[in-house]
């Protein structure tokens, strides 16, 4: 705290960051009460891009809700597709062919790498370095091309279906993915050399934005934020879904609780995702990619269903109540960024404004997913 804050003549002023500001990664507004250069109170104000996705789920048929899943978190849409597919397969009792599950894992992990790459590039750009974004974009383009060749779209995927996937992957995709992994693996040490070892970055990240495991539990923060606070929690391990139990990978955990730890978790997750993809490509079985006899008009039996996946930013879970008709009675989407950003208010007290923006970037928020 500055000396001014401790005196009786405490003068504060309000500052609005956003709703249109590059550092907030979208239309997030942060109302900050400033005490000189220090933050007294920062209040994230949400709702600028609220689109009522939950309500849309309640007045559309199950099949018609598909395109919405690509528009929550536009950076890791595949994981959201996966969650909805898993939810409805659990509800309607559909058995998914193994090849389809492997394809789902491969595409979702490619999407995770892509999301972390952009997160990495955009984060460094938040801190004032422009070049790493270009390197990250180079690799990211390769992934987008690969995913485009199989799904048909570049970001807002609508690729999974109840009981499988829209279309099968071909040999071009498999060889392309292998070539990408071969090309991408040496890039990560290059990023570390170029960015992580940089003296300015270390000064700006190490020890900045402490988020304890307690605080994560209090606000329900998940994903790299939680794993950067020393908690080994990942839905892929703790509540395994799809074919993840058969695949070989580690969960990177850092105990430092600062922005650097969260950054490092993301960087290490990319390496682990490469491992998962390679593993899954080696194990990829032959067979159909769509379950037989999936009804066109799905009518799951009465009940309350829940499914959770590990998206790039943390745990994404869906809960739906079905009343036996072709629409949902209640649809609930639990998005990770909402919880991750809600701890910003408590964690940013007494922080320098420039540090607070570095801290916000380390939470890697995606606003459309937060507002839903």
């Amino acid at each position: 705290m500055s000396s001014l804050a401790q005196s009786h003549l405490r003068e504060t002023f309000e500052l609005n960051i956003g709703p249109q500001h590059p550092a907030t990664h979208g239309v997030l507004r942060i109302k900050v009460v400033m005490d000189g250069e220090y933050i007294d109170r920062a209040e994230p104000i949400l709702g600028y891009i609220h689109r009522m996705h939950e309500k849309m789920g309640e007045n559309r048929t199950w099949n018609q809700f598909w395109p919405n899943m690509g528009r929550l978190d536009y950076l890791s849409a595949m994981a959201y597709n996966h969650c909805y597919a898993g939810l409805m397969e659990r509800a309607a009792g559909i058995e998914v062919p193994e090849r389809a599950e492997y394809i789902r894992v491969i595409t979702a992990e490619l999407n995770r790498i892509q999301s972390h790459l952009l997160g990495f590039g955009a984060y460094i750009m938040d801190l004032g370095g422009f070049t790493p974004l270009m390197y990250a974009m180079d690799e990211r383009e390769q992934i987008l091309d690969l995913l485009e060749s199989v799904t048909g779209s570049r970001l807002t995927y609508c690729y999974f279906r109840f009981g499988g996937v829209y279309n099968d992957i071909d040999d071009d995709f498999i060889t392309g993915t292998r070539a990408f992994l071969k090309r991408f693996r040496p890039q990560i040490p290059m990023y570390h050399k170029l960015v992580t070892g940089n003296a300015i970055l270390m000064d700006r990240l190490i020890g900045v934005g402490p988020v304890s495991a307690e605080m994560c539990r209090k606000y329900g923060a998940t994903g790299p934020v939680l794993r950067g606070s020393g908690v080994n929690y990942d839905i892929r391990r703790n509540e395994p879904y799809s074919v993840y139990p058969e695949l070989d990978f580690d969960i990177p955990v850092y105990k430092e609780c600062d922005s650097m730890a969260r950054y490092m978790v993301r960087m290490d997750e990319m390496v682990q995702s490469c491992r998962i993809i390679e593993n899954a490509l080696n194990k990829l079985p032959e067979g159909p990619v769509m379950a037989e006899k999936v009804p066109k008009a799905l009518k799951p039996p009465n009940g309350d269903y829940h499914y959770a996946v590990e998206a790039a930013r943390g745990t994404f879970s869906m809960r739906t109540v079905s009343d036996g008709t072709n629409t949902s009675y209640r649809m609930r989407l639990r998005s990770p960024t909402y919880s991750n950003v809600s701890l910003f208010e408590e964690a940013s007290r007494g922080m320098l404004l420039s540090d607070a923006l570095a801290f916000l970037g380390s939470l890697d928020p995606v606003i459309p997913e937060m507002d839903r």
């Binding site: 099949n63 018609q64 390197y135 485009e148 048909g152 779209s153 609508c158 170029l194 003296a199």
Partner: protein
């Protein structure tokens, strides 16, 4: 003081390492394309707006105007206009309107289409400043030189005409019968009226 110099040394070192990578990258070939002069090859699975498929045998679309694409669309972007023509089996597609401003390219219409009459196109150069430019009539896009008339099957036409004639006759007969019945109903009513009049007098 020693920390000050140490910071300078580590800072310069990381700068040198960073510049080394940047310089290496400086000498590699550019990975970007000069867009209007060169363009990226589209993948066959690329999802542009939907288009009608031309049947190579007949040169026409194979739409049966069932309206399943219209029903399945989450945003109500599609409207199929059709009519019955004499001598043509089934309905005839007269307009297939796609409002591309609300389309989210989910593929529900393509999946719902039983005869496989629609598919995703590869068109992506669609920039415009007018909203009306995104309301496509896919039938006109399929036949830019003019929508051809569907072939009239003379046998079917004959049958249909006969059927229509028969239906006409049947309708006329029905009408006659109905008129007769009406008249029969009216007669006793008249009688009743007369009897009433008699009573009064």
């Amino acid at each position: 003081m020693s920390g000050y110099f140490k910071d300078i040394i580590t800072g310069l070192k990381s700068l040198a390492v960073g510049l080394q990578i940047t310089n290496k990258e400086f000498l590699t070939k550019p990975i970007t394309l000069l867009y209007p002069h060169e363009s990226v090859k589209m993948y066959p699975r690329y999802r542009g707006h939907i288009e009608l498929v031309k049947d190579p045998e007949t040169g026409m679309n194979s739409c049966i105007c069932c309206g399943m694409c219209e029903k399945g669309c989450p945003s109500g972007s599609i409207s199929v206009k059709s009519e019955k023509r004499p001598g043509v089996k089934g309905k005839v597609l007269t307009a297939y309107i796609l409002n591309f401003t609300t389309c989210s390219l989910c593929g529900q219409c393509v999946e719902n289409c039983k005869p496989g009459a629609i598919r995703f196109s590869n068109e992506y150069n669609l920039a415009s400043t007018r909203r009306e430019d995104y309301i496509f009539n896919l039938l006109e896009k399929l036949h830019p030189e003019g929508i051809p008339e569907p072939e009239v099957d003379p046998e079917l036409l004959k049958k249909e005409l006969e059927k229509a004639e028969a239906a006409k006759k049947a309708a006329a007969a029905k009408k006659e019968a109905a008129a007769k019945q009406e008249a029969a109903k009216k007669e006793p009513a008249k009688e009743g009226g007369e009897s009433k009049a008699e009573e009064k007098s």
